[in-house]
């Protein structure tokens, strides 16, 4: 009997202290958003906590869309201060922000990120594909004899006689992933528009509508969100290719090599100057109403904007970020330091 009383008392105390705890206010910075920007914010957060003695920021990886939901939820301690995004904010998301009173937002583009197609080093062929060939291998619908039809290709040599006669087997992220969105937009739709058939008969809008579907009959395999798993499966099967962020290729270059796209291999240089075609800009968004309210937020942004972090040779580049040019960095710094409000997205 007495232990029941005790437990009740403990719960009561816990409940009271819980209420007290929220009343105190948040001391840490909260960041949500894209899993692609996550490692960079992670690096800045750790350095910021080590160098300044502010409490460690809470860095959560929710995906770009999930991050916007939380970020645009409102102003106040319950809502995140910063959200990372592997694409720019959509009009619908901006509208949601405005609806909840989040109007003063600064948009910061911190650099770019490359997507790589990789294959095991045990594979002897020097792979070099065009985006059109990538589309023919992975698109759900392709032109066959002048008709828009189900994808009939099962081996690489059917697409280009120069390729080996191995089965098409590509492991990639599922539709919930931002990496998948980026791959579809940057590789599939672009590749589709390079096809003669599409070029002659259709325009870009048509391609965006019709070329975004990956094939589901076997050659493209959704391997889940875990990129390490894809790396392991590539190491086990030397004919399989994998799609993931450039940082995973960089960390595993002893066992994996890149598939060149139109003759260009992914590297920090080719991604930064845009000659490697599958690269995308990375952003984060700052809720300016929280600046000066959440302790350390301004110092955190200062660390994020520092040359140590953003410049070529900085610690974010070492994590796989492809840095901006000098002028763009200065402009970004200016923008963030003065909390310049982004233009409304219509």
């Amino acid at each position: 009997m007495s232990h029941l009383k005790l437990s009740t008392a403990v719960i009561a105390v816990a409940a009271v202290s819980a209420t007290a705890a929220f009343a105190q206010g948040r001391e840490e910075i909260r960041r949500v958003g894209s899993s692609t920007v996550f490692p960079y914010t992670q690096a800045v957060a750790e350095r910021f906590a080590n160098n300044t003695g502010f409490p460690s920021p809470i860095v959560e990886s929710t995906g770009t869309g999930g991050g916007m939901q939380i970020f645009c939820g409102g102003i106040g301690e319950d809502f995140a201060d910063i959200t990372g995004a592997s694409r720019s904010m959509k009009a619908s998301e901006y509208a949601m922000c405005v609806e909840n009173g989040v109007t003063d937002i600064t948009e910061a583009r911190i650099g770019s990120d490359g997507l790589s197609i990789a294959i095991s080093r045990d594979n002897d062929f020097a792979w070099n594909v065009t985006l059109a060939e990538v589309y023919l291998a992975l698109g759900a619908m392709v032109p066959v004899d002048g008709e828009w039809a189900e994808n009939p290709y099962t081996t690489w040599d059917e697409i280009n006689p120069d390729f080996p006669a191995t089965e098409i087997e590509v492991l990639g992220p599922p539709p919930t992933s931002g990496t998948r969105d980026a791959f579809v937009e940057l590789a599939m739709v672009e590749g589709c528009m390079e096809l003669d058939y599409v070029e002659q008969n259709h325009d870009g809008d048509w391609a965006e509508e019709n070329c975004a579907r990956m094939r589901t009959d076997g050659p493209f395999i959704e391997a889940g969100e875990n990129d390490n798993l894809i790396v392991q499966r590539l190491q086990a099967n030397s004919d399989a290719m994998g799609i993931f962020g450039y940082s995973f290729l960089y960390e595993n270059q002893d066992t994996l090599k890149a598939v060149d796209i139109a003759g260009v291999a992914p590297s920090p240089d080719t991604i930064a100057d845009g000659s490697y075609p599958i690269s995308r800009p990375l952003f984060f968004y700052i809720k300016n109403a929280h600046r000066g309210v959440i302790p350390g937020l301004n110092e955190f942004l200062e660390e994020y904007m520092s040359e140590d972090a953003l410049a070529p040779g900085g610690y974010l580049e070492a994590r796989g970020l492809v840095p901006l040019g000098d002028a763009a960095r200065d402009q970004l710094r200016e923008l963030v330091a003065n909390s310049v409000t982004m233009d409304p997205i219509e």
Binding site: A18, D78, D254
Partner: protein
């Protein structure tokens, strides 16, 4: 005398039965053998799968239980670090100089940058904290053991293979030569990785530890226990001992059994909507995680408690009632103490399940990256399974083995909790 006597008839029919039994005996024996074979086969398969799982975890994870360190004589140069400047100072340069002292071949100007990367990024903070605590060290030479950075740690453990061509290796030939020089100087050591348990998370594999996750899991389980245990037992006692047997109590029983089978992700969504959305509790907090896990554990505890109460023989109740005890006294002074071992066993198994639960915690944001351990149940934190989830998704090599190591730690805790449950059952179990 051709009449068959009753005796003979019995004998004949007995013979016939014996014959029939004999004929079927071989078949029945064979069936029994087959059944036994299937049974042993099933056990062998189960154990093989378990063995493969654990063996593969140990194979990839054992390297994370040791960590490559280097022991340096560090001269705390007053030109770099001054007492007034603390906590800022050239800690990294001081450490780099100490490494360069051991590398006669390296040029202090040109190679400083490369040599700096041999040490973990955490080394400078370790030195800083030591000097901030005792500023009188400035100007002295101290001996310091600091971790190496991940590529060199991997080189030492064999994660980076020396025979791969240089351009495909994370550590180039020059860096490898430096490492070998340090190794020859006898200052490289590979002690047990205490940091795995005493450090919070980090983006550097060599610094990342489970402290945040362990503390987070502890707070979450404590909350879960404090809520699910009393409420679960209370509900079970009422349903078993006091509730009238009618349609309503049947309906409640069916629902509790169903609740025990609801997928955990549903509880996560519920928690997100109710605890965080409606009550405004903080995201990522172990307290909210504990509330969510309590919802999941409660049906398990109710079912286990009811089974334990049912197992107490009616004679105990009747005897107590017979000497004039009230229903309340019967339950709390006689039945409940006898049922306690069973209740505790069920509770611990329920909590062990809760410890390994991931999906609901992901939904309430307990998968955040935080470089310090929580100090209260309301601070943001991770839990063991979500920490495994974060590490499994990190690109660095060092995290591959740390993921397996974290799984082994989690399995260790589960085995321990189940062991306690078995011990309690064996020690306190009473047979009637």
């Amino acid at each position: 005398m051709t009449d068959i006597t009753p005796n003979d008839a019995r004998k004949a029919s007995n013979n016939a039965t014996t014959e029939a039994v004999k004929r079927s005996l071989a078949r029945r024996n064979r069936k029994q053998l087959v059944l036994q074979g299937f049974g042993i086969g099933a056990i062998v398969i189960a154990f093989t799968v378990l063995f493969i799982l654990v063996a593969s975890l140990v194979r990839t994870g054992y390297t994370a239980f040791v960590q490559t360190h280097v022991t340096l004589d560090v001269y705390i140069d007053p030109a770099e670090i001054s007492e007034e400047g603390l906590p800022r100072g050239g800690f990294r340069d001081v450490l780099t100089a100490a490494v360069l002292d051991n590398l006669p071949g390296a040029d202090p100007e040109e190679d400083a940058r490369g040599v700096r990367n041999i040490l973990s990024n955490g080394a400078q903070f370790q030195l800083r904290d030591q000097i901030v605590e005792d500023p009188s060290l400035i100007g002295q030479t101290i001996t310091l053991t600091v971790p190496l950075s991940d590529p060199f740690d991997q080189l030492n453990k064999g994660g980076v293979r020396r025979d791969t061509p240089e351009d495909q290796r994370r550590v180039d030939n020059q860096e490898m030569a430096w490492f070998d020089a340090l190794d020859e100087a006898g200052i490289i050591s590979t002690p047990f990785n205490i940091g795995l348990f005493t450090n919070a998370d980090s983006r550097f594999p060599e610094l990342a530890g489970l402290k945040g996750a362990l503390v987070g899991s502890f707070w979450a389980l404590l909350t879960c226990f404090l809520i699910a245990f009393p409420i679960g037992i209370g509900a079970a006692i009422y349903l078993e001992e006091f509730a009238p047997k009618n349609r309503l109590s049947d309906f409640i029983e069916v629902n509790i059994n169903n609740l025990a089978a609801v997928p955990s992700v549903v509880f996560g969504l519920l928690a997100l909507a109710v605890f965080i959305g409606w009550f405004g509790l903080p995201r990522s907090a172990p307290f909210v995680g504990g509330l969510t896990l309590a919802l999941m554990t409660m049906p398990t505890i109710i079912i286990a408690t009811r089974a334990a109460l049912k197992a107490v023989p009616p004679s105990i109740r009747e005897a107590a009632l017979g000497v004039g005890a009230s229903k309340h006294q019967v339950v709390f002074q006689h039945v409940l103490p006898l049922a306690m071992p069973g209740i505790l066993t069920g509770t611990i198994i329920g909590l062990a399940q809760a410890l390994g639960e991931t999906a609901p915690l992901l939904l309430i944001g307990m998968n955040a990256f935080i470089t310090s351990a929580p100090t209260s149940p309301f601070d943001a934190a991770t839990a063991l399974p979500t920490q495994i989830f974060i590490w499994a998704d990190s690109p660095e090599r060092g995290f591959t083995s740390r993921t397996s190591a974290a799984i082994l730690v989690l399995l260790g805790f589960l085995v321990m909790m189940n062991g306690i449950a078995i011990y309690l059952r064996n020690k306190f179990e009473r047979r009637w």
